[in-house]
C-alpha cells in the first residue's frame, strides 16, 4: 500500500472543509440578511415602536377608552457622568436612599443569564442600554423634571401611552392592563418585559385586536452605541400600526347612570338589546373608577384596597353571582307547560296553600293571571304536569322522563352553560337534570315531590343575572335570542360574525303572548306586584322576584322589557338584601328603561329616592 498517497486523503479533507466553510461564510455574510438583522436586534440597534392601543367607542360613538400620553424617565448607566444623587432625588421627590435602591432594582430586575458552556452567570443588565428609571410620569410631573434634565447626563425621557377612561365607569366590563408575566412572554414573542397586557374584561378578551402592530426601526450606531442614522435607508424598518377601534354595543351614558343608581347598594343591572343581543349596560355594584387601575403605580396603590373592600367591588356579580332565580322562572315554566300541552293559556288552578305557601290573591284563572299574582301553587301544579306526564308506569321513571324533557327545554334558553361570547368570567349556573338527582338521591329514587321547589325557581336551580336578563330578551323576542355580547364591530369590518347566529328556543311563537300579557299586568294592572315600574308613556312588561337568601335579608329582583310591542331593552335588576322585589328593583328598572328610551327621567322623586338609599352597604372600612 502506498502510504504517501494518503497525504492526499488528508489534504482533500482539509480542502473540503475549507470550501464548505467558505461557502457557508459567504452565504452568511454576503447573501443572507437574517444574521445582520439579528445582530441589530442583539446590539439593540433597533428600536421597537409600540403603537397606542386601539380606542373603544360605545354604541353612540362616544369614546369610552382612549390613550393618554405619559412619560418614562430613562437612564443609560454608561452615559451618566458625575451623578448628583441628592439633586436627582430632590428633583423627582425621592430620598437619595430610594434612588440607590431603584438603581439596584433595575439591575436585579433584568435577571441573570447562566451560560451552560462557560458555566458563568452573567447579568442581563447592560450599561449601554436605556432602562426606565421612573415609569408613567404624567405630563404635569414631567414638565417640572424636564427643564433640569440637562444637569443629569445619562437621563432622558420617552413618551409612552397609557389608558384613560373619560367616563370613569364600566370598569367591570372594560377590565384593565398590567405588566406581562414571564410565562406570557415565553408564550408570545410579541411581549417584552415591562410591556402591558389586557388583564381582564374587554382589554383581555380583545388583547390581540387592541394591541396593534409593533414597528421596528433599525439604526446604525458606532461601537460606542451612539445612534448615527437609519440602517439601509429604512429598507427593513416596519411602521407601527394602531389597532382599529372597537365599537361596543354598550351605551356608556346608561352604564354611568346605572352605576349612579346603584351607588351605596350592592347588586347588579344587566340590560340587553333583544333584537341584537348587545349588552347595553352591565353594572356590578359597587362600581369603581377604571382609572384607578391604570399603570403600575396606581395598581399597586389601589388594587389591594379594592380587593379588601367588604362590599366586594371586584366581584363580577352579573356573571358570577349564581342565584336561585325565583319568580322569573315561572315565566319559563309557563312557556314549557304550554309547549308540552300539559296546560293551555286559559288553564286555571286554585291557589292551594297546602301544597306550597303563597300570599293572598284572587284565583288565577289563566296564565296571565298566574303571572300577575305570581301564584306559587299554580306553578306547583303546572310543573308537576310537565314532570309527571304519566308516560311511564313507575312514578320515579316517569319523573325521570319528564325532567329530561324539561331539561332540554331549559337548555334551549341558553341556561346551565356559559355563553360562548366575549364576556369573560361567566359562571354556568345550575340546571339539574336526571343524572344530577340520581347522584343525590339514587337512580329512580326521586319524583316530582322530591324536586318540587324547582317549579317556582327555588331549590337546586341557579342562574346568573346575565342569564336571567337573557330570558327576558327571549320573551321580548318571542322565542329566540342572539348570544349576549359586548363588542359590535372592529374597525370597518362590520358586525362580528360570531355573534350573528340566531338561537331558537323550543317554544313556539304563540305561547309567548299570554306570558307577555301577564308581564304587562304585573306592572300596569291594579294588584300587580311591579307597579313601581310603571311609566306614563312607555308600556313596560315586568316580573318581580324575591330571591331567598339564607344569609340575611332577601334580594330584591325585577325583570322587565319595554316597550311591549316593539321591545328595545330587556333588563334585569338585582339589589342585594333589599327585600321584596317591587320596592327597590322595580323602580330602578323603570328608571333604566326610561333613561335608555327617552334619554331623561320624568319622575325626579323616584330617582332621588333611589340615589339616596343605602342598602346593606358597608361604609366603615
Amino acid at each position: 500500500m502506498n502510504l504517501e498517497a494518503r497525504r492526499n486523503v488528508i489534504l482533500s479533507f482539509i480542502i473540503l472543509m475549507i470550501s464548505v466553510y467558505l461557502i457557508k461564510l459567504f452565504y452568511m455574510q454576503v447573501i443572507d440578511e437574517t444574521w445582520t438583522l439579528r445582530a441589530q436586534e442583539i446590539a439593540e440597534k433597533r428600536k421597537v415602536i409600540f403603537p397606542p392601543r386601539g380606542v373603544i367607542f360605545d354604541r353612540n360613538d362616544k369614546k369610552i377608552v382612549t390613550n393618554q400620553t405619559y412619560y418614562n424617565l430613562m437612564m443609560v448607566e454608561d452615559s451618566i457622568v458625575d451623578l448628583d444623587t441628592a439633586a436627582l432625588a430632590k428633583l423627582i421627590g425621592w430620598t437619595p436612599k430610594q434612588v440607590h435602591a431603584r438603581f439596584k432594582e433595575i439591575v436585579e430586575g433584568e435577571g441573570t443569564y447562566y451560560n451552560k458552556i462557560t458555566r458563568k452567570r452573567t447579568l442581563n443588565y447592560q450599561k449601554i442600554r436605556a432602562y426606565p428609571f421612573l415609569k408613567e410620569v404624567t405630563l404635569e410631573e414631567m414638565s417640572k423634571i424636564a427643564p433640569h434634565l440637562s444637569n443629569f447626563k445619562g437621563f432622558h425621557y420617552e413618551a409612552t401611552s397609557a389608558r384613560n377612561y373619560p367616563y370613569k365607569s364600566a370598569a367591570n366590563i372594560l377590565g384593565y392592563l398590567s405588566e406581562v408575566y414571564r410565562e406570557e412572554i415565553e408564550e408570545d414573542p410579541f411581549y417584552k418585559p415591562g410591556n402591558n397586557i389586557g388583564r381582564a374584561g374587554i382589554e383581555r378578551f380583545y388583547e390581540k385586536e387592541l394591541r396593534g402592530v409593533k414597528g421596528i426601526k433599525y439604526i446604525v450606531t458606532s461601537a460606542l452605541n451612539n445612534a448615527i442614522e437609519s440602517y439601509a435607508d429604512g429598507k427593513y424598518d416596519t411602521t407601527a400600526h394602531q389597532a382599529p377601534p372597537l365599537k361596543m354595543g354598550m351605551d356608556v351614558e346608561l352604564q354611568s347612570y346605572g352605576e349612579r343608581l346603584m351607588q351605596k347598594k350592592k347588586g347588579c343591572i344587566v340590560a340587553i338589546e333583544p333584537s341584537s343581543g348587545e349588552i347595553l349596560s352591565m353594572v356590578s355594584a359597587p362600581s369603581y373608577d377604571p382609572n384607578l387601575l391604570v399603570g403600575k403605580r396606581n395598581i399597586s396603590a389601589n388594587y389591594p384596597k379594592l380587593a379588601k373592600d367588604l362590599n366586594l367591588p371586584l366581584f363580577p356579580r352579573p356573571l358570577q353571582a349564581e342565584y336561585p332565580p325565583g319568580s322569573i322562572f315561572k315565566l319559563v315554566q309557563s312557556l314549557i307547560a304550554m309547549q308540552e300541552g300539559v296546560i293551555t293559556a286559559t288553564s286555571g288552578f286554585p291557589c292551594d296553600k297546602s301544597l306550597v305557601g303563597c300570599h293572598n290573591h284572587p284565583t288565577a284563572r289563566n296564565i296571565a293571571e298566574a303571572i300577575q299574582y305570581s301564584c306559587n301553587p299554580y306553578y306547583y301544579m303546572a310543573v308537576r304536569r310537565i314532570i309527571q306526564q304519566g308516560v311511564k308506569r313507575s312514578t320515579n321513571a316517569d319523573a325521570e322522563y319528564g325532567l329530561q324533557k324539561w331539561y332540554k327545554y331549559i337548555r334551549s334558553f341558553g341556561l346551565g352553560k356559559i355563553f360562548d361570547t366575549d364576556v369573560s368570567g361567566q359562571r354556568p349556573g345550575l340546571i339539574p337534570n336526571p343524572a344530577f338527582y340520581d347522584k343525590w338521591y339514587g337512580h329512580h329514587a326521586w319524583a316530582f315531590s322530591t324536586i318540587r321547589s324547582i317549579s317556582i325557581g327555588q331549590g337546586e336551580v341557579k342562574l346568573t343575572p346575565l342569564q336571567m336578563a337573557n330570558i327576558v330578551a327571549i320573551i321580548a323576542n318571542k322565542g329566540w335570542y342572539y348570544t349576549p355580547h359586548f363588542v359590535r364591530s372592529i374597525g370597518k369590518k362590520g358586525a362580528l360574525a360570531q355573534f350573528n347566529k340566531k338561537h331558537w328556543t323550543m317554544i313556539n311563537y304563540q305561547h309567548f303572548d299570554p306570558v307577555i300579557e301577564g308581564m304587562r299586568r304585573v306592572v300596569n294592572e291594579p294588584g300587580g306586584t311591579g307597579k313601581m315600574a310603571r311609566l306614563n308613556d312607555i308600556l313596560v312588561c315586568g316580573k318581580t322576584g324575591t330571591v331567598q337568601n339564607p344569609h340575611g335579608e332577601d334580594h330584591s329582583v325585577f325583570f322587565a322589557f319595554a316597550p311591549m310591542n316593539k321591545p328595545k331593552i330587556a333588563v334585569a335588576v338585582f339589589v342585594e338584601n333589599a327585600g321584596w322585589g317591587g320596592t327597590w328593583a322595580a323602580p330602578i328598572a323603570s328608571l333604566i328603561i326610561e333613561k335608555y328610551l327617552k334619554g331623561k327621567v320624568s319622575d325626579p322623586d323616584k330617582e332621588k329616592r333611589i340615589l339616596e338609599a343605602q342598602i346593606a352597604f358597608q361604609t366603615a372600612n
Binding site: I10, I14, Y21, K24, M28, Q29, D32, W35, R38, A43
Partner: protein
C-alpha cells in the same frame, strides 16, 4: 555531531512567516475586542492585549530556547516528557474548579492548562513509538499500544472535564492513518474468526478513519436536509424534493460522475473491481442516509431537540443556543468588507453580546470587523500553513519528524475546523481556542512551542540519518 551554525540556517521561512503573520493578526484582534479607551496603550498590562503581547513575547522566547537546544532530545526524552505532563494532568484534577472544570494549574490569571501541553507530549511519544515500528510489526498489540498513548491523556482530560480538548485528541487518528497504523489487525481478528475466511487485509479496516469521517459527514448532511423541502425548477413543472431524497440524488450524481471518470481513466481490469466498490459504496451510503433519517425519527423528543440544536435546525436564541446564535449574528453581520477595525458592535467585549469573544469566540470580532474578505485572507493563511506543514512533513528523512509534523498539522486542523465551525453553526459549542488568535497564555505557549519544535526539527532534518 553537529557543527555550530547560525540559528536561522535551514529555517523554513515561509512557515515562520505565516506563523508571525497569524500572531500579529491575533494580537490586533485581541486589541480590538478588548479595547479600553482608558488604557489605550498596547503595553498596558492591565488590559488583555497587554497581557497577550506579553504571552506572545514569552512564547517567542520559548521558541528561541527550542532553537538553542538540539532537536534530538525530543525523540530521546519523549517518554519522560509524556510522563511529566501526565503527572500534571493528574495533579490538576485536585485543583479547585474554575468554571466547573479542573483544568487550571496555578493562581489567578496566570494559571496554565496542562491539557494544552499534553497535546505536544502525546505527539512526541506517538511519533517516537510509530517511527520505531516496521510494517511487519503492525499487529493488534502495536495498534492497541499506539491507541493507549492517546487514550490515557484523553481519559484524564475527560475527568476535568474538557470536551473540546478531548475531541482534539481524535486528530491523532488521522496521523495513525497516514502512517498505515490502522485498525485493520483488530478487524481481521474478527473477520478471520469466521470459518473459511482468510483475509490479509480488509479495505474497511485500512481506511477506517476516512470512512468514519465520511459516514459522519453524510449523516450530518442527511439530518441537515431532513426537514427541508427544496423546490427545483424542472422543465415545465416544478419538482418538489424532500431533503433526504436530495441526498440520494447527490449520491447518485457522484456515482455517475465517478463511473464516467472510470470509463475515461482506468483499464478494463481495474474497472470491474472498482465498479463493485463503487456500487457497494452507493448502496451503503444510501442505506446509511435512509437509516439515519428513520433512526432520527424514532429518537425521543429531548434527544431530537439536542441534535437539532447542535445542527442548527432549531433555534433557541436565549437558551441553549445563546452563544452560537450571537456568534453567528456577529459573523453574519460582517458583510463583504466588514464593519472596520475596532467597529465590532456585537462581539466587542464592551457590549458583551458574545460571551468569550476574546478567547473561544475570537473569530467573531475578526469576521465582523474584516468581513468576508478578511475571512478569505485568514483561510488562505491557514490553508497555507497546513499545506506547508504537510510539505515539510513529507520531506523529512526521519519518520519521527514526519509523524510529529503530521500531528501538528492535524491538531491545528482540528482547532481551526472546530473553533470556526462553532462560530458559523457547523460545530457544537465546545470550548477550544483558535490557535495564535485566542487570548490566553497556555494555548499561546503550547501552540508556539509546538510550531517551533517542528521548525527546529525541520531545520535539523539533514543531520539525522535514519
Amino acid at each position: 555531531m553537529r557543527k555550530q551554525e547560525s540559528l536561522t540556517e535551514h529555517l523554513d521561512w515561509s512557515l515562520f512567516g505565516a506563523l508571525m503573520t497569524m500572531l500579529l493578526m491575533g494580537l490586533a484582534t485581541v486589541y480590538s475586542v478588548a479595547y479600553n479607551e482608558e488604557a489605550p496603550s498596547l503595553f498596558a498590562f492591565s488590559e488583555k492585549y497587554g497581557r497577550q503581547l506579553f504571552w506572545i513575547l514569552f512564547s517567542l522566547f520559548l521558541g528561541l530556547l527550542v532553537f538553542l537546544i538540539d532537536s534530538d532530545i525530543y525523540r530521546r526524552f519523549a517518554i519522560p516528557i509524556y510522563l511529566s505532563t501526565h503527572v500534571l494532568l493528574i495533579v490538576v484534577l485536585f485543583m479547585p474548579a474554575v468554571h466547573g472544570a479542573h483544568a487550571w494549574l496555578g493562581v489567578g490569571s496566570f494559571g496554565v492548562q496542562p491539557a494544552e501541553f499534553a497535546k505536544i507530549s502525546t505527539s512526541l511519544l506517538l511519533a517516537k513509538y510509530i517511527s520505531g515500528l516496521t510494517v511487519k510489526q503492525q499487529n493488534t498489540r502495536t495498534v492497541l499500544t499506539a491507541s493507549s498513548i492517546l487514550l490515557i491523556p484523553m481519559g484524564l482530560i475527560l475527568l476535568q472535564p474538557d470536551a473540546g480538548t478531548f475531541v482534539v485528541f481524535t486528530s491523532f487518528l488521522f496521523v495513525m492513518y497516514r502512517e498505515g497504523l490502522t485498525f485493520d489487525p483488530i478487524l481481521l481478528n474478527f473477520v478471520n474468526a469466521i470459518p473459511g475466511v482468510r483475509y490479509k487485509e480488509t479495505w474497511v479496516g485500512s481506511h477506517f478513519i476516512p470512512i468514519l469521517f465520511a459516514l459522519l459527514f453524510l449523516s450530518v448532511v442527511t439530518l441537515l436536509l431532513d426537514s427541508v423541502v427544496f423546490v427545483m425548477p424542472f422543465f415545465v413543472t416544478e419538482l418538489q424534493l424532500s431533503g433526504s431524497s436530495l441526498v440520494l440524488f447527490g449520491l447518485l450524481l457522484i456515482y455517475v460522475v465517478s463511473w464516467l471518470l472510470m470509463q475515461r481513466f482506468t483499464t478494463r481490469r481495474e474497472r470491474s473491481r472498482m465498479m463493485v466498490v463503487l456500487s457497494l459504496g452507493l448502496i451503503l451510503a444510501g442505506g446509511l442516509s435512509f437509516g439515519v433519517d428513520t433512526g432520527f425519527d424514532m429518537l425521543k423528543k429531548h434527544q431530537k431537540d439536542r441534535i437539532e440544536l447542535v445542527l442548527g435546525l432549531r433555534e433557541d436564541p436565549n437558551g441553549d443556543d445563546y452563544n452560537r446564535n450571537r456568534a453567528m449574528a456577529a459573523v453574519g453581520s460582517g458583510g463583504f468588507l466588514g464593519k472596520g477595525y475596532r467597529e465590532a458592535s456585537v462581539s466587542s467585549m464592551r457590549t458583551n453580546h458574545v460571551p468569550e469573544s476574546e478567547t473561544d469566540f475570537i473569530f467573531c470580532p475578526f469576521a465582523e470587523e474584516w468581513g468576508f474578505v478578511g475571512v478569505l485572507v485568514l483561510f488562505f493563511l491557514y490553508f497555507f500553513m497546513l499545506f506547508r506543514i504537510i510539505i515539510i512533513a513529507e520531506r523529512q528523512r526521519a519518520a519521527f519528524n514526519r509523524i510529529y509534523a503530521y500531528c501538528v498539522a492535524m491538531i491545528l486542523f482540528y482547532h481551526f475546523a472546530i473553533n470556526i465551525g462553532m462560530n458559523i453553526g457547523f460545530a457544537p459549542v465546545i470550548g477550544i481556542p483558535l490557535p495564535f488568535f485566542s487570548y490566553g497564555g497556555s494555548s499561546m505557549m503550547s501552540f508556539s512551542v509546538m510550531m517551533f519544535i517542528l521548525l527546529k526539527l525541520d531545520a535539523q532534518r539533514k543531520d539525522v540519518l535514519r
